[in-house]
Symmetry: C2
Subunit: 359 residues, 2 copies
């Protein structure tokens, strides 16, 4: 399946992959809108251990005139495609939290803590046009190892106590184009299916649950895929005994699955952006888009596990964590938008009851 | 001190007071900007028990043109002055949470739950002009009683197990005018001082702690007052033995203190708005205001106890809870605004290290 020798550690293979994927994704957007400024690339070093590279697109700063049409309308309004490769020690309380969040991982108690390694790519694309949906994706690898006692960490391969992959992607339109949702889900489903027929339905459902906004009684968008804790052990969400269900099990198999998903990102989203970015729109539609972005902010700040964890982490890079927030968001008290029988209301109907987009 | 007979229950006296205060505050803003639309008043009934009245100001819906100057510039951009008088039963887990949040309150375990009553006024004023600060205030009364066994709840006076007042107000400028902060704090301090010299410094400090945004390392604004759990028992924040410190202790004394604070709201804030609302401003200043409003959203959604509690409460009126959010907010990745030596940077310096505005 691959020409890599098995002696290359998974952390290094993941790091290489997300580096390449980041560049591919950013280039795809830059090529699509050559008149727009390039993504701003900046690399950073985490004092506690690790590196990262942020590629961020920001509208040219027009000092406040973000809503009224300006001379050059870039396709994107705000976007970030970030990777991070970090390592450190989980102190005992963090091990406890980790055990609670990933309850299939057997993690020993160690008063001195446990070394961890995490590598991931995370992206959010907020286009300017209200007819073009926002898109988010994330692919990540996590490893917890035995402490190395005094020897050179560059030399030794520490014993891996637990490892898993997680990830997914989801689509958040302001206006509902059913064919966009179908395209997005079909592309992801195709990437999943060759690794096991259970994967798409299981992780699609997980996505609908994860991106639910309880206080609004609505979903953040039209869903996609969400998964976590994928490793060689039994998985709580994949119900039948592993022997009866084809699914990726070995590190190689799971990594191949995650790579297929990562590679599917551009084909799942860019064709939608190409159709929608040039549809003419009214101030009314722009206003609704900003209200929907308010809901996006609500989800990310109130519920998103990654954001909450990041905000609570001392020394975390706040700018990278909050990169996901839209450039502008809007809150109206008892808004009159979204009534039944309108285009806005049609979206709300779907958000209130997540739909099966492909069978 | 007052002509009220002591036989009128406190819950009724508070309800009357916040009704009057709401009307006074709303009228003050309406009188100040007579060209603007009136506040929209709507009363609501809580299915689980209780009533409320929301008075909300919204900019005329210009369908998206919120940033570019429009024909009539209202002084306010978005504002809400809400009261609610609710009652119900705290189930055992809520009693537990209540005990944790208000650890000076001795609350018995009751498998059938405990009746509660809560009455409060809550307001947020977001002016349009970036030179005019946002202001928030809240005054509330809470009571927990013995269950009434079968008798008519309208007839009996249930035994009060615990009661307390809480409240405060705080100012959130986008641009720093030191004299505004001094005026705001002085007015509040004057209202406090006749009830005890300890109150202002104790509750000013509490405010600085409460409105701290840890992930930004900055305060939401220039502070004001915050207090909770004020009743006849010892108070964890007022250090010396009660006998040595003059402070309001009886229900009448504490209610008088809270009323003085409520009555001080308009004089603490409206004179500032009067000076600042007509200063001419640039798109650059507007942009900074929207970035600061992003921080306001971050505080309210991530940290504010009332908002978090509200969002988690089934059947809560979400529109009232999120009324506090600004009409528009903005997030820039690695913004270039706020640098040292600029007016924006001058504000940040004060937010990073809360200052004593009056001595």
């Amino acid at each position: 399946m691959t020409s890599r020798t098995p002696s290359i550690p998974m952390r290094q293979r993941v790091e290489e992959y997300i580096n390449t994927l980041q560049e591919e994704i950013v280039t795809a957007f830059e090529t699509f809108d050559p008149q727009a400024p390039l993504f701003k690339r900046d690399s950073w070093v985490r004092a506690q251990g690790g590196i990262g590279k942020s590629c961020v697109f920001a509208s040219p700063a027009d000092d406040g005139a973000t809503i009224s049409p300006s001379a050059h309308q870039t396709v994107l309004e705000k976007a970030g495609v970030n990777i991070s490769i970090v390592h450190g020690t989980l102190p005992p309380p963090a091990i406890k939290q980790m055990r609670a969040d990933h309850n299939s991982m057997p993690l020993p108690d160690r008063p001195e803590g446990l070394p961890f390694f995490a590598a991931g790519l995370s992206l959010v694309i907020h286009p300017r046009n209200p007819h073009a949906p926002t898109c988010h994706a994330n692919y990540r690898y996590f490893e917890i190892t035995e402490p190395l006692n005094g020897s050179d960490p560059e030399e030794d391969q520490p014993k891996v106590l637990a490892w898993w992959f997680g990830g997914g992607s989801d689509l958040t339109p302001s206006y509902l184009y059913e064919e966009d949702a179908v395209h997005f889900h079909s592309t992801i489903k195709n990437a999943c299916d060759k690794h096991g027929a259970q994967l798409y339905p299981t992780f699609k459902k997980w996505c609908d649950e994860y991106f639910w906004i309880p206080h609004r009684g609505e979903s953040r968008g039209v869903g996609g895929l969400f998964f976590d804790d994928l490793n060689e052990g039994p998985h709580l969400r994949i119900p039948a005994p592993a022997s009866e269900v084809k699914r990726p099990v070995t590190p190689d198999e799971i990594f191949a699955f995650v790579k297929d998903l990562g590679d599917a990102f551009v084909p799942s989203y860019l064709p939608i952006l190409k159709i929608r970015h040039s549809i003419s729109y009214t101030p009314h539609e722009r206003r609704w888009q900003l209200i929907r972005r308010g809901r996006y902010v609500e989800f990310n700040l109130v519920y998103d596990r990654g954001t909450k964890f990041g905000l609570m982490t001392p020394g975390a890079r706040i700018e990278s964590i909050l990169m996901s927030l839209p450039e502008t968001a809007r809150w109206e008290y008892m808004t009159d938008m979204g009534a039944e029988g309108t285009e806005e209301g049609r979206l709300l109907t779907v958000l209130k009851e997540p739909r099966a987009w492909v069978s």
